[in-house]
């Protein structure tokens, strides 16, 4: 018995010594806690990006598909030809239009959730917003194909109402609708967060100073919601910018995105260097976008 007790004592004192050492040296504590995630971040994330960047300066033997390790700028020069500039412009414009659409839809919705709805109703709305995220992305996109295609649900409903038929399946309009739908929750949640944080006292003060509802909304609520809008726009913009599945599934003959060209260069063409060069484009666009978003104070609302 005594022997066991003594041994336990030793173990405890050993552990205590380690924890005491850690307590005394904060830098050691931080290093030990942070180094695994930091190593993960450096090796997996940054190193793979670096490898991609390097690949972008290589070329590929057109015949055997093997990489040729000689430096060239040809891949980047090729991006600046009308074909690829059109595709890049199409992607960026679609991402911008989807972002604006989602902001317009999300603002009143989030306002209602944050400031009008009862706590119970707020909970129900939250579930309603997040519920679609539980379903697979593909299932939701396929549902829209059924709705939008020729003779689909939308066209059928309109014709029953005597409003004629529409045939917008497999067009950029279809893509715009699907993207706006799919990314809407990513806009609502940050705006809700921003609106919820507005203290009631500010609104009361605005009222006391004689501002009517509209004036309060314009001069108090909207400016305070803006960081939330910008934070949400980072999601909607970057998610649209990087997507290649929706263009394949609901896009038409003029719907190729940057992602589709990257995909076909990896898959069909086996031209990894050009795909890597093209993948730099959304990264550069996002760097500009995030710099702008930071200036708008978006990161405080996230």
């Amino acid at each position: 018995m005594t022997a066991t007790v003594v041994r336990e004592d030793q173990t405890v004192s050993g552990g205590a010594r380690v924890s005491a050492a850690l307590w005394r040296r904060a830098w050691l504590r931080a290093t030990l806690t942070l180094s695994p995630p930091l190593a993960w971040f450096l090796v997996i994330y940054l190193a793979s990006l670096l490898v991609m960047l390097v690949t972008a300066f290589w070329s590929v033997n057109p015949f055997t598909n093997s990489l040729v390790h000689s430096w060239t700028l040809a891949n980047f020069q090729q991006i600046f030809t009308p074909t690829y500039l059109t595709i890049i412009a199409r992607t960026v414009i679609m991402a911008a239009v989807v972002t604006v659409t989602d902001a317009v839809l999300a603002l009143p919705f989030a306002y209602f959730m944050a400031r009008v709805a009862t706590p119970r109703g707020r909970q129900a709305l939250f579930i309603a917003v997040l519920l679609p995220l539980w379903a697979s992305y593909l299932a939701r996109v396929y549902a829209w194909i059924v709705i939008l295609q020729k003779g689909g649900t939308l066209s059928w409903t309109l014709s029953k109402l005597g409003l004629g038929t529409v045939n917008i399946g497999y067009t950029n309009i279809a893509m715009w609708i699907v993207f706006s739908y799919i990314w809407l929750p990513f806009m609502i949640v940050p705006i809700y967060g921003a609106l919820e944080r507005i203290p009631d006292s500010l609104l009361e003060a605005s009222g006391d100073l004689g501002a009517r509802n509209w004036r309060t909304l314009r001069s108090v609520v909207l400016p305070l919601a803006l960081p939330g809008v910008v934070a949400g726009s980072i999601f909607t913009f970057s998610l649209t910018l990087g997507d290649f599945i929706t263009p394949i599934l609901v896009g038409g003959a003029n719907s190729s995105f940057i992602g589709n060209v990257i995909y076909s260069n990896i898959g069909t063409a086996g031209n990894l260097p050009f795909a890597a060069a093209l993948a730099v484009v959304p990264i550069v666009i996002m760097i500009f976008y995030l710099t702008g978003a930071r200036a708008a104070g978006a990161f405080e609302a996230m």
């Binding site: 033997n61 055997t64 598909n65 390790h69 992305y137 990896i266």
Partner: protein, 405 residues
């Protein structure tokens, strides 16, 4: 079977990777440094493995067989009995495209892979880069029962050497709605006819350029196009021009067979280029469609089981070639995948498996029917005439992006 994608293991990729920007990164190290030899790779074409000795008998199996295959080419129905009878355990790696197959087979299969079910557009790339080696066709007894045109086809047999054994094939047919066409169209011209603007669909695949070239070879003889896969620059430009004019008529360039099926089911498109699989699926679902091979003929694909230069399990590979060419496996594969077997004896078994399958997939068609098919092969800079003035495949890919982008 629901999602059947020769063009890509797309859905798998789709559900896994939404972050496109990160996509290009990871493959960097994988395909590197396989000693790419001469710069363009196409000048002075000789098959590096042409003189490799072939075995004269098949020895005892090594207990393992590693395949690179199209999805659906290593199904338990015919893999399980093979494993039981030979003791060769099969592990299959599915590739999403011909280029992925070529990349995986780099450096002779890397001592890892034994065989690849390559399509005609990849075959010559594999042969001329030395990644596959000749086989002794006499060790595959069912080979003599093949359709004659698949015994020594130019895409897998060079100078009398067989770089693998043919497996299955299919034509690229003209699919049409019977509402829009009471009688079958007799020319591919319907795909270029403004009358059907917005109601046309064709595959999203650079090799589709060959379809347009085949059409031009008959309608504009002045261009002098002989082989639709061997195009000089002027011929290539004329073909790309035709496809650019066609673009406004296209509703969608389809990536998945299932997309074309739903396009025709909903009546969105009325005419398009397709595989027999789509026709048969649509007809089975009650859609009023038909398919035809127009007067100009058609392109087609044909797959070959090829043997990796550094195959670690050659005996199991030969056993697989023997097994995969038997009438029963040929029929199972054909019915499962929706294609035509190389072995003529598979026809009655196809009908047993699925009534009318043999005729539906033209497995019993006369030889003249197959002669109308121009099978996929890799476009090379070196034309059949020994000159180096043809447009190679990578330019086909670039041009295709310009057409469809």
């Amino acid at each position: 079977m629901k999602v059947w994608a020769r063009g890509g293991a797309l859905l798998a990729a789709a559900s896994a990777a939404v972050l496109v920007a990160a996509c290009g990164s990871s493959g960097g190290g994988g395909t590197a440094s396989s000693g790419s030899g001469s710069g363009s790779g196409t000048s002075g074409l000789t098959a590096p493995q042409a003189n490799t000795a072939v075995p004269t008998s098949v020895g005892k199996g090594e207990g393992q067989l590693n395949l690179i295959a199209w999805e659906g080419y290593a199904q338990p129905q015919w893999v399980k009995p093979f494993e039981q009878s030979t003791g060769c355990q099969v592990s299959a790696k599915y590739a999403g495209s011909s280029s992925e197959m070529v990349s995986l087979m780099a450096n002779g299969g890397g001592g890892q892979y034994d065989m690849v079910s390559a399509s005609g557009d990849a075959d010559l790339r594999l042969i001329y880069s030395g990644d596959v080696k000749p086989i002794n066709i006499n060790l595959v007894p069912q080979w003599k029962n093949f359709h004659p045109f698949l015994q020594n086809p130019p895409f897998n047999t060079i100078g009398g050497k067989h770089y693998g054994v043919s497996y299955e094939f299919g034509p690229n047919v003209l699919l049409y709605s019977k509402k829009a066409f009471p009688s079958a169209p007799t020319s591919w011209s319907v795909l270029y006819n403004k009358k059907y603007a917005g109601e046309v669909t064709v595959p999203n695949n650079p090799i589709q350029i060959a379809d347009a070239a085949l059409y031009l070879s008959k309608t504009q003889p002045g261009l002098g196009i002989g082989d639709p896969y061997e195009l000089t620059q002027p011929q290539f430009n004329a073909t790309v021009n035709l496809l650019k004019q066609q673009k406004p008529l296209i509703k969608k360039y389809w990536d998945l067979a299932s997309q074309e099926i739903s396009l025709f089911q909903s009546g969105t498109t009325v005419v398009g280029a397709a595989w027999p699989y789509q026709t048969n699926t649509l007809v089975a679902a009650g859609a009023k469609v038909g398919d035809t091979i127009p007067a100009q003929g058609a392109t087609g694909w044909a797959d070959t089981w090829m043997l990796a230069t550094k195959a670690p399990h050659p005996n199991c590979a030969y056993k697989w070639m023997q097994w995969a060419t038997t009438p029963k496996v040929q029929a199972q594969q054909a019915v499962f995948f929706g294609e035509t077997p190389a072995n003529k004896l598979a026809c009655p078994i196809m009908d047993q498996l699925s009534k009318g399958a043999c005729a539906a997939y033209h497995a019993n068609a006369p030889e003249a029917y197959f002669q109308t098919l121009k099978f996929w092969k890799t476009p090379l800079a070196q034309c059949g005439n020994g000159k180096n003035d043809c447009v190679p495949f990578q330019q086909w890919v670039t041009a295709w992006t310009q057409i469809t982008g």
